[in-house]
Amino acid sequence: MAQLEIVDVSKSYGTVEVLKNVNLSISSGEFVVFVGPSGCGKSTLLRMISGLEEIADGEIRLDGKVVNRVDPARRGVAMVFQSYALYPHMTAFQNMAFSLSMAREPKALIKEKVGRAAEILRLEKLLERRPGELSGGQKQRVAIGRAIVREPKVFLFDEPLSNLDTELRVQMRAELIQLHDKLGTTMIYVTHDQVEAMTLADKMVVMNGGIIQQCGSPLDLYDDPDNKFVAGFIGSPKMNFLRATVEAVHGGRITVADVGGGGRFDLPFAGFNASVREVELGIRPDYVEIASEVGRPGTLETKVAFVEELGDVTYIHTDTASGERLVIRSNKARYRGGAQCVASLDPAGILLFDRSGARIRSTH
């Protein structure tokens, strides 16, 4: 169990800056997920915590102590790699025991510790097998076991599930949550998959371009994103974005026009800075409906591009008059490409962003 603080950490390879002034604090026992597109710096940050990557600028503190210069093996962190990184010439037992035998622990203690980890992960019967004789999921469990055996203060996971097939991934996710509950240790997990991040995280850290975009609980980030990137990154299908101009600001409400090339909306909004004209509306497909009548306020005329029928729900991908994509969630309507349809946007689901992508929040 440990508290981790990342203070002003930057990293660059030559002229390429991969991390810019990252600040983050992780409290003891939290399950934190770093998520972002590839190249966003999440893996680098994780590797800096592990000690595999040098910290040139800034500080990383573990339980209040700066660990910048501490050898990776002594930091009390354990890492689970995407490729599992199991040693093919050793049995599962030997793999899990490797760190202890490097530390010259007595045989009996090694046996006990590995045995305990194997029990947690239900690996007892597989301990004498070599990685070549294990399935992907089993290998992953051995890799986790190797980390558990070290009794680390912090577990680090680097995209550990991306080599597994979908079904196994869902199952392993559940196991990881249980493991976290059981051990109560701080865990830091890196993934590019926002669904994985949403399901696992106590605290989700969305990164892009070497910068932490937002961090908080998954639902906070989903409902209340700080910027257009976070809004667009979380949720599937993605949030719709429509450019608009602010026409009028009047007593707790604003009127936006030219939405999707012609729509006009009246939204409740307090404390709007009247000098801002150009905005972007963000709305999740859940808040968009097929409207029956044309011309009602809060509706847009669109043209159907294609339809995704997923069984329980149907997503209708439409194009507005301005050429922007608007996805509508519907559970009954049947539409075909090329058809006209009217979309009705629920004002409660509309978020406002300025043209730089930053969120404009209402002050209620």
């Binding site: 093996a73 890492m79 990184a85 490797f98 760190s99 490097m102």
Partner: protein, 292 residues
């Protein structure tokens, strides 16, 4: 419709006949070539395992005729000539060279293949360039250096100058490059020191390449003729190659069958090695050829 069917039938039949001629020819050629490749060795065996005194010319022996005479010749060679001692020398020379090449080469290959450190690029470039330089160029100055060190007629004089094998290094680097970096990092997190990573992770993972290199080094050392000839001319350190050379010398007074027995004994270790490890040898050569 039926006409076209018959035509297809005829064509496949013709093709089948064609195929069998091809097969017969193929087998005939393969067997002839096998005879050409293997016969000299078989012939050598037959000459050894034959009664002495029968001129070789009467018939090129197709089968061994006398097992006991062959054994007797071998016993004679071992007891009455310095052959046994030469065997020890050759084996020591080979084993020490193998051990040295593997240890020194694998340590360097581990670094070149998996890490960055100052001077890596120029060092690597120089070693690879050395593969282009004919060994003949360094032979004389290397001999003179070994002489200056006072290593003539010593085991270290035989072994040490040949340990920095650029070929071996290259081969091991090629292989170790395929070790995933994550595996090294995992070991580092597990608290293994740099040397322990080499010993417990990199070496076991390179076992195949090491075995192949060991075998190739053995073959090469065992057959090495010129270096022992100039560096260890003293009878004390005669290698098998030199002793066989004595037997082969035009004016040596031993008979053909004894000469052949000496040769056969020299051929035995590499032949046995080959039969035991042929897959590894062939793979090793193929690897160095297709990747290099």
């Amino acid at each position: 419709m039926s006409a076209s069917l018959t035509m297809i039938g005829q064509r496949t039949q013709a093709a089948g006949w064609d195929f069998s001629v091809w097969t017969v020819l193929k087998w005939a050629v393969a067997i002839c070539l096998t005879v050409v490749a293997v016969f000299p060795i078989v012939w050598m065996v037959n000459v050894v395992f034959a009664e002495p005194g029968v001129p070789v010319s009467i018939n090129p022996r197709l089968v061994p005729t006398s097992f006991s005479h062959g054994v007797e010749k071998i016993r004679m060679i071992f007891t009455e000539t310095p052959y046994l001692r030469a065997y020890y020398v050759s084996i020591a020379y080979s084993l020490l060279t193998i051990a040295g090449v593997l240890i020194v080469g694998s340590m360097a290959a581990f670094e070149f293949a998996l890490f960055e450190f100052p001077g890596k690029r120029p060092m690597f470039a120089v070693v690879m360039l050395s593969l282009m330089v004919p060994s003949a160029v360094t032979l004389i100055p290397r001999y003179l250096l070994t002489a200056d060190l006072g290593w003539l007629n010593t085991m270290q004089g035989l072994v040490v100058p040949g340990l920095a094998s650029a070929f071996g290094l290259f081969m091991l680097i090629q292989f170790m490059k395929s070790i995933p970096k994550e595996m090294i990092e995992a070991a580092r997190l597990d608290g293994a020191s740099h040397f322990q990573i080499y010993l417990h992770v990199a070496l076991p993972l390179s076992k195949n390449a090491l075995v192949t290199l060991a075998i190739l080094t053995f073959m090469q050392t065992w057959g090495n003729f010129i270096w022992p000839l100039i560096v260890a001319p003293s009878p004390q350190l005669y290698t098998v190659g030199q002793v066989v050379g004595l037997f082969n010398a035009p004016f040596s007074h031993v008979t053909v069958d004894v000469v052949m027995a000496a040769n056969l004994l020299a051929a035995l270790p590499p032949l046995i090695f080959f039969l035991l490890f042929q897959r590894k040898i062939v793979e090793g050569i193929a690897m160095s050829g297709t990747k290099g």
